[in-house]
C-alpha cells in the first residue's frame, strides 16, 4: 500500500466527492463528517510521506508510473502520456502544507448550511486536484489537475460567496483560464519537441513525451525543434524559447499572483466564504509558485537566468505595490488579500536569485505564508461570523472582550510582518539574503523589497491597534455579540499558531527536506 500512497492521496477525496453526492438529503451533516475524516486521513498520509522521505536521495521518491495515453501518429511517431506521480524535496513541503490547510479549512466549513452536499463534493474535488498538481510528474497530467482546480473554485465562490460572488467567480475563472491557455501552448510546444530517447531508439521512431524528467534534460530535445537552443526559431522576432518562457511567466504569474496580473485576487478573496479564502490563499496560490519553479525555471533555465532581473522586478513590484494597496483598505479581508499579493512577491524575488538561499527561502516563504494567511483569513472569519461586517473602523478595543482572540491575532499579525521567532521571518530573510547575494541582481532591487517590510508593519499594526486596542466600541448598526473564541475556532487558531512558532524556531524541518532537491535543481539548471 505504501507504494501507492500518492494515488490514494488523489483518489480518496475524489471517491469522497462521489460518495457525498450519494448521501441522502436528511443526513447532510454526514457530508461534513465524511469530508473531515478524509481530510484527517490525507494529513496523516502527508505526515507519513514527510517522515518516510529520504533526505539524502537524489531524484523523485514514492514514484508511481503507468502508461496512460498512447497516440500513434504513423510515420511521425507516437505521443506517450503517462500517469506519473512522484515527490521530491520541492513538492513535499507543498504537499504537507496542502494537508494542513485543507484540514483547517474543512473544520472551518462546519457552518455551511445551504446545499451542504454540493459544497463538500466540490470541496473534495478541489482537494483531489490540488494534491494531483503537486505530485504529478507528467506535464499533461499536471495540466489536467491544474485546470480541474478552477471548476470547483468557480462554483464554491459563485454559489456560497458574498454579495458580488458571481462577478468575482467569473473574473477568477476567466482570468486564470487565459493563463492556462498560455501554459497549454507551452505544453504542446514542449511535448512535441522532446523525444524519449531510450524508448525512441528502441522502437525506431519518435516518441514524444511529457515526462518532467525527460523535459528537463536538454539532451532529449529534438534538433531543429522549438526547444533546441541552437536552432534559430523565432516568433515575432523574439527567440522562440524566450517567448515560451514569457508565456509561462504570465500564466503562472497570474496564479501566484504577481502584479500586474493580480487584480482577480482581491475580489475572489473578499467574496469567497471564509473556508474557501483559506484554501485559496493557503494553497492555491502556491501552485503558481511551485509550477513556476518546476516548469518555468526548471525547463527554461537559460531564459530564466537572462530574465532574472525581470522576475525579481516583478517580485519587488508585488511587494511594494501590494503593501501600499493594503495600506489603503478599509475592509479587513481586502487588506489581508493585498498583503497576500505582497508576501508572494518574496517568492519571485527569492527564485530570481538563482542561489540556494534564495530558492530555499522562496519555498519556505510559500510554506510559511500558507500557514499564516490561513490564520489571517480565519481571524477575519471570526469577526465576520459575529457581526457580518468587516470594516476596520467599525471595531475598537476588542481586546477587552476577546483576550484569547487578541493573543492569536497578535501572533498572526506579527508573524505576517516578519517578526523573528515566527515562520514569516525565515522565508523573508532567506529570500532577501539570496537576492542580495545574487550575481545577476543589482543591490537596489532587494533594498526596495526591504521597504515592503516597513510597510507591512505599518498596515498590519495599524489594523491591530485600530481594531483591538483602546476603549471597547462596536458600531451601533451591527449586532453586538463579541464573544471570545468558540471551541472550534480555538482548535484551528491555536493549532496554526503552534505551527507558526514551530516553523519559526526550527526552520530545518523544511530546509533539510528542500535543500537537497534545490541543489540538484540548481546544478541541473546551471549554465
Amino acid at each position: 500500500m505504501t507504494a501507492h500512497l500518492l494515488s490514494i492521496l488523489i483518489f480518496l477525496p475524489l471517491a469522497g466527492a462521489a460518495a457525498v453526492l450519494l448521501l441522502p438529503e436528511t443526513a447532510k451533516k454526514n457530508a461534513y463528517r465524511l469530508t473531515l475524516v478524509i481530510s484527517v486521513i490525507a494529513l496523516l498520509i502527508c505526515l507519513y510521506l514527510y517522515s518516510g522521505f529520504d533526505k539524502e536521495a537524489i531524484g523523485y521518491q514514492f514514484l508511481e508510473q503507468k502508461d496512460w495515453i498512447n497516440l500513434e501518429l504513423g510515420s511521425l511517431g507516437a505521443i506517450h502520456i503517462q500517469y506519473l506521480l512522484g515527490l521530491d524535496g520541492i513538492s513535499l513541503p507543498m504537499v504537507l502544507l496542502a494537508g494542513i490547510v485543507f484540514l483547517v479549512a474543512t473544520i472551518s466549513s462546519h457552518s455551511i448550511a445551504k446545499r451542504t452536499k454540493a459544497y463538500f463534493s466540490f470541496y473534495l474535488l478541489l482537494m483531489s486536484s490540488v494534491f494531483g498538481c503537486f505530485v504529478s510528474l507528467d506535464f499533461f497530467l499536471f495540466f489536467l489537475f491544474f485546470e480541474f482546480m478552477l471548476l470547483p473554485m468557480y462554483f464554491l465562490i459563485g454559489i456560497w460567496g458574498g454579495e458580488r460572488r458571481e462577478y468575482a467567480a467569473m473574473k477568477f475563472i476567466i482570468y486564470t483560464l487565459v493563463g492556462s491557455v498560455f501554459i497549454l501552448i507551452v505544453m504542446l510546444a514542449m511535448g512535441l519537441s522532446v523525444t524519449d530517447n531510450p524508448l525512441s531508439t528502441e522502437l525506431g521512431k519518435n516518441i514524444f513525451s511529457f515526462d518532467f524528467r525527460i523535459l528537463s534534460d536538454a539532451s532529449n530535445y529534438i534538433s531543429g525543434s522549438v526547444l533546441d537552443a541552437k536552432a534559430s526559431n523565432s516568433l515575432f522576432g523574439w527567440p522562440a524559447k524566450t517567448v515560451l518562457f514569457v508565456l509561462l511567466l504570465i500564466g503562472f504569474g497570474i496564479k501566484l499572483p504577481t502584479v500586474p496580473f493580480h487584480t482577480w485576487l482581491p475580489d475572489a478573496h473578499v467574496e469567497a466564504p471564509t473556508a474557501i479564502s483559506v484554501v485559496l490563499a493557503g494553497i492555491l496560490l502556491k501552485v503558481g509558485g511551485y509550477a513556476f519553479l518546476r516548469i518555468g525555471i526548471g525547463f527554461f533555465p537559460t531564459e530564466a537566468f537572462d530574465m532574472a532581473y525581470v522576475i525579481a522586478g516583478l517580485g519587488v513590484l508585488s511587494i511594494v505595490f501590494g503593501a501600499f494597496n493594503a495600506l489603503a483598505q478599509d475592509d479587513l479581508k481586502k487588506l489581508i488579500a493585498y498583503s497576500s499579493v505582497s508576501h508572494m512577491g518574496f517568492v519571485f524575488l527569492g527564485f530570481a536569485a538563482f542561489n540556494e538561499q534564495g530558492i530555499n527561502g522562496g519555498i519556505y516563504q510559500m510554506f510559511s505564508h500558507g500557514i499564516l494567511s490561513a490564520m489571517l483569513f480565519l481571524i477575519v472569519g471570526v469577526v465576520y461570523d459575529r457581526t457580518g461586517n468587516r470594516l476596520i473602523q467599525n471595531y475598537r478595543g476588542l481586546a477587552s472582550k476577546m483576550p484569547l482572540f487578541t493573543g492569536v491575532v497578535v501572533i498572526a499579525f506579527f508573524g505576517s510582518l516578519g517578526l523573528p521567532g515566527l515562520s514569516g521571518f525565515i522565508g523573508e530573510f532567506f529570500s532577501l539574503l539570496g537576492a542580495f547575494n545574487a550575481p545577476t541582481l543589482p543591490l537596489w532591487l532587494p533594498s526596495l523589497a526591504v521597504l515592503g517590510i516597513i510597510l507591512s508593519a505599518i498596515y498590519l499594526l495599524w489594523a491591530l491597534q485600530r481594531m483591538f486596542f483602546g476603549e471597547f466600541w462596536v458600531n451601533r448598526s451591527l449586532q453586538n455579540e463579541m464573544t471570545d473564541l468558540s471551541q472550534r475556532e480555538k482548535i484551528m487558531l491555536f493549532g496554526l499558531a503552534v505551527l507558526a512558532i514551530l516553523f519559526g524556531v526550527w526552520p530545518n524541518l523544511i530546509f533539510e527536506v528542500s535543500h537537497g532537491a534545490v541543489d540538484t535543481f540548481l546544478s541541473s539548471t546551471a549554465k
Binding site: 495600506l327 483598505q329 540556494e356 517578526l419 508593519a457 491597534q465 466600541w473 534545490v518
Partner: protein, 646 residues
C-alpha cells in the same frame, strides 16, 4: 558548569517566566516566581563572571543548505558579560519596584510575563555570536517594548505610542537588515568571530555597510532623525521606562556598535559621531522646557545616548561603554524616583503641580540629588568619570581639524545643558512652594529599590580615584588609554556649575511667574523642534491619510499616497482587465453582425435569387395552348434557320 550551559539555563528560565506568568493570577505568586527566577539568573551571572577567563564561542547548527549554513552561535566576551550582569541587576530592582507600583493592576501577571520576555530577548541579544541572531533578538526586544509601552492598551495615547515606537524602530531595522545582507555579500559570513578577524580595506561599500548597520542603532537608541519615539514611550508604566528606555533596550544600539566596531571605516565613524552630537544637543535643549517629569528624563536619555554614540563614532568605544554602564544605574534610579514621585502626587506627572518634596520625602530627595549629580557629571560621582572619558576622548579625536571640532563642542554644550535641566527639575519638584501642606509618608519598597542604584552612582564602585577614569576598575577590563587634555574635564565642570546656579534662579522665577508662552525658544524646546509634527503631518498623513486619525465614527475618505496607489490599481490595472469585458461584448456583437448580415446574408441572397429565378421561370407554364403553339412554331423555325446556317 560550562559557560554555554549557564547561558542556556538562564535564557530558559526567563522564557519559562514569560510563558508561565502569562496566565497566573495571584499577585504574590507572580512576583515571587518572577523575582526568584531573576535572582537565580543573577547568581549564575556572577558565577559566570567570576569563572571567566577568555572569550568563548559556540556554534549550533540551525539552518543548513548544501554549500552554506547559518548557525545559532554564542559569543561570550567581556562585552557580553558586562551587559549580561547589568541587565539582570537592574531588572531585579525594577521588578522589586513594580511589585508595589503595579499592585492594583488586574493584568499583574501579564506585566511580569512581558518583563521576563524582555529580559530573555535582551540577554539573547548580548550573547548572540552572529549578526543573524543579533537581529532576531533585536526584533524580539522591540516586540517586548511594544507590548510594554502599550500595556495599558485601553488608553488611546499608550497604544498610539507603542505603534509609533515599533514602526520607527522598524525603519531603523530595515536599514540594519540591508546592512547585514551587505556584510554577507561582501564577506560570505555573518559570524562575529570570523568578521573580527578580517583585515578591512576601506571603500565606499564598506562605509555604506557600516552606516546601514548604524541605522539599527539610530532606531533602537533613538538617535536623530528617529528619536521621536522615545518621549512618547513614556506612556508605558514608569518601571518599564526605567528598565527599557533608560538602561537597557536603548543601550542595545550602543552595544551593537561595540560588537561590530571593526567594520566601521573612518568615514562611517565621522557620520556616526556627527549624528550622536546633533542628537545630544537637540534633546538636551528640549529637556530644558518640558513640563512632564518623565519627558525631561526621556529627552535626557536621548541626549546621553547621543553622547555615547558620538564617542563610538570617534573611536572611543570603551569610553562609550563606560558611560553606558554608569548611565544605566543613575538613569534607572532617576526613573524609579520619578515613579515614586508620580505615585506620591497621585499620578500627576506635570512638574508645575509638584513641589515641596524636600520636606516630606527626604530620603527620596537625597537619592534624587545623588543620581542627578552623577548625570550632571559632578566629581565624586560615577557620571563624572564616564562623561569626562567621552568628552576628552572625542576632543582628542577631533583635535587638529577645526571642522571636526564642532562635534565635541556640541557634546560639551549638551553636557552643560544637562546640569541646567536637572537643577530645574529639582527646583520644580523638590523645593518648597507656598502652596498646600503635605504630610510625610513613610519610605516604602520604592525607596529601598532605588538605594542600590544610587549607591552605584558614586565613584567608589568604579575605582579608587574619584577624578581619573583611566585608572578606574572599569578601565582595567575595558582599557581607556591615557588621554591628554584633562583640563577639558574641569572646564566643562565649571561651565556646568555656572549652568546649575543659573538654572536655580531661572527655575525659581518660573514657579513664581509663568514665562511667556509665546517665546520662540520655549516653543522649539517644548515641541522638540517640531520634528514629530513634521513626520506626522508631512510624511505619515500624505502617505497613509486617515491612518493617524483615531476618531470612533466611520471615516469615509482615505486621502494620501496609498489611496492613490489603490485607485491606480482599481482603475488602471483592473480597469484594463475590465475593458476586456466590453471589448469582448463588442467583438461578439460585431461577429454577430458579420454572421447575420454577411455570412447568413449570402446564404439568404442565394436562396432569394433561386426563388426569384424560379418565379420568373414559372411564368413559362402559362396554361394557354396558343402560347405553347407559338412557342413550338418559333422554336422549330429557329432550329431550321440554325441548321441551314451551319
Amino acid at each position: 558548569m560550562p559557560a554555554d550551559q549557564i547561558l542556556f539555563i538562564t535564557l530558559g528560565l526567563y522564557l519559562l517566566g514569560f510563558s508561565g506568568l502569562l496566565f497566573l493570577r495571584r499577585n504574590i505568586l507572580v512576583s515571587g516566581l518572577s523575582m526568584a527566577l531573576n535572582l537565580i539568573g543573577l547568581g549564575l551571572a556572577f558565577y559566570l563572571i567570576q569563572t571567566f577567563d577568555g572569550p568563548i564561542a559556540f556554534e549550533y547548527p540551525w539552518v543548513s543548505f548544501q554549500k552554506s549554513n547559518f548557525s545559532a552561535s554564542i559569543l561570550v566576551n567581556r562585552l557580553t558579560l558586562l551587559l549580561w550582569g547589568l541587565v539582570q541587576f537592574i531588572a531585579l530592582l525594577v521588578q522589586l519596584f513594580s511589585t508595589k507600583y503595579m499592585e492594583k493592576d488586574d493584568r499583574y501577571g501579564q506585566y511580569f510575563a512581558y518583563l521576563n520576555l524582555f529580559v530573555f530577548s535582551m540577554l539573547g541579544l548580548v550573547a548572540s555570536g552572529n549578526l543573524l541572531f543579533i537581529f532576531v533578538f533585536w526584533e524580539l526586544v522591540g516586540f517586548s517594548s511594544y507590548l510594554l509601552i502599550g500595556f495599558w492598551y485601553k488608553k488611546q495615547s499608550a497604544t498610539n505610542a507603542s505603534l509609533k515606537a515599533f514602526i520607527i524602530n522598524r525603519i531603523g531595522d530595515a536599514g540594519f537588515l540591508i546592512g547585514i545582507a551587505l556584510v554577507y555579500v561582501q564577506f560570505q559570513t555573518l559570524e562575529l568571530t570570523a568578521l573580527s578577524a578580517i583585515i578591512y580595506e576601506p571603500n565606499g561599500l564598506l562605509t555604506l555597510t557600516g552606516i546601514l548597520l548604524f541605522a539599527g542603532c539610530i532606531g533602537k537608541s533613538a538617535q536623530f532623525p528617529l528619536q521621536v519615539w522615545l518621549p512618547d514611550a513614556m506612556e508605558g508604566p514608569t518601571p518599564v521606562s526605567a528598565l527599557i528606555h533608560a538602561a537597557t533596550m536603548v543601550a542595545a544600539g550602543i552595544f551593537l556598535l561595540a560588537r561590530v566596531n571593526f567594520v566601521f571605516t573612518s568615514d562611517a565613524g565621522l557620520f556616526i559621531a556627527a549624528i550622536g552630537a546633533i542628537t545630544a544637543v537637540l534633546a538636551a535643549y528640549s529637556a530644558i522646557f518640558q513640563q512632564d517629569i518623565k519627558k525631561v528624563l526621556a529627552y535626557s536619555t536621548v541626549s546621553q545616548l547621543g553622547l555615547m554614540v558620538m564617542a563610538m563614532g570617534a573611536g572611543a568605544t570603551h569610553a562609550a561603554l563606560f558611560h553606558l554602564f554608569t548611565h544605566a544605574f543613575f538613569k534607572a534610579g532617576l526613573f524609579l524616583i520619578a515613579g515614586a514621585i508620580i505615585h506620591h502626587f497621585h499620578h500627576e506627572q506635570n512638574m508645575e503641580k509638584m513641589g515641596g518634596l524636600l520636606r516630606t520625602k527626604p530620603l527620596l530627595t537625597t537619592l534624587f540629588i545623588i543620581c542627578a549629580a552623577s548625570l550632571t557629571g559632578l566629581p565624586f560621582f560615577s557620571g563624572f568619570l564616564s562623561k569626562d572619558a567621552i568628552l576628552i576622548s572625542t576632543w582628542n579625536w577631533a583635535k587638529g581639524s577645526p571642522a571636526l571640532m564642532i562635534i565635541p563642542i556640541l557634546g560639551i554644550l549638551a553636557s552643560v545643558m544637562t546640569g541646567f535641566y536637572m537643577m530645574r527639575a529639582f527646583v520644580l519638584v523638590f523645593m518648597p512652594r507656598a502652596l498646600e501642606k503635605q504630610e510625610k509618608s513613610p519610605n516604602s519598597i520604592f525607596e529601598w529599590s532605588i538605594v542600590p542604584l544610587a549607591l552605584c552612582s558614586f565613584w567608589f564602585v568604579f575605582g579608587d580615584s574619584p577624578l581619573s577614569f583611566e585608572t578606574s576598575r572599569f578601565s582595567s577590563y575595558f582599557p581607556i588609554s591615557h588621554q591628554e587634555s584633562h583640563w577639558l574635564g574641569y572646564a566643562v565642570l565649571c561651565l556646568s556649575l555656572i549652568a546649575i546656579v543659573a538654572s536655580f534662579f531661572f527655575s525659581k522665577r518660573e514657579i513664581s511667574n509663568k514665562f511667556s508662552e509665546q517665546s520662540v525658544w520655549r516653543k522649539f524646546g517644548l515641541n522638540h523642534f517640531f520634528i514629530d509634527s513634521f513626520y506626522l503631518n508631512r510624511i505619515a498623513k500624505p502617505m497613509a491619510g486617515q491612518l493617524v486619525s483615531t476618531d470612533n465614527e466611520v471615516l469615509l475618505h482615505i486621502k494620501g499616497f496609498s489611496k492613490m496607489v489603490h485607485r491606480f490599481d482599481n482603475e488602471v490595472i483592473d480597469g484594463a482587465i475590465g475593458l476586456l469585458s466590453p471589448l469582448a461584448k463588442k467583438t461578439a456583437a460585431f461577429t454577430r453582425y458579420l454572421d447575420e448580415s454577411w455570412v447568413d446574408g449570402t446564404v439568404n441572397f442565394i436562396s432569394n435569387g433561386v426563388r426569384r429565378i424560379g418565379g420568373r421561370l414559372k411564368l413559362i407554364q402559362g396554361g394557354k395552348i396558343q402560347s405553347y403553339l407559338i412557342a413550338l412554331v418559333l422554336f422549330l423555325l429557329a432550329i431550321m434557320i440554325l441548321l441551314t446556317l451551319l
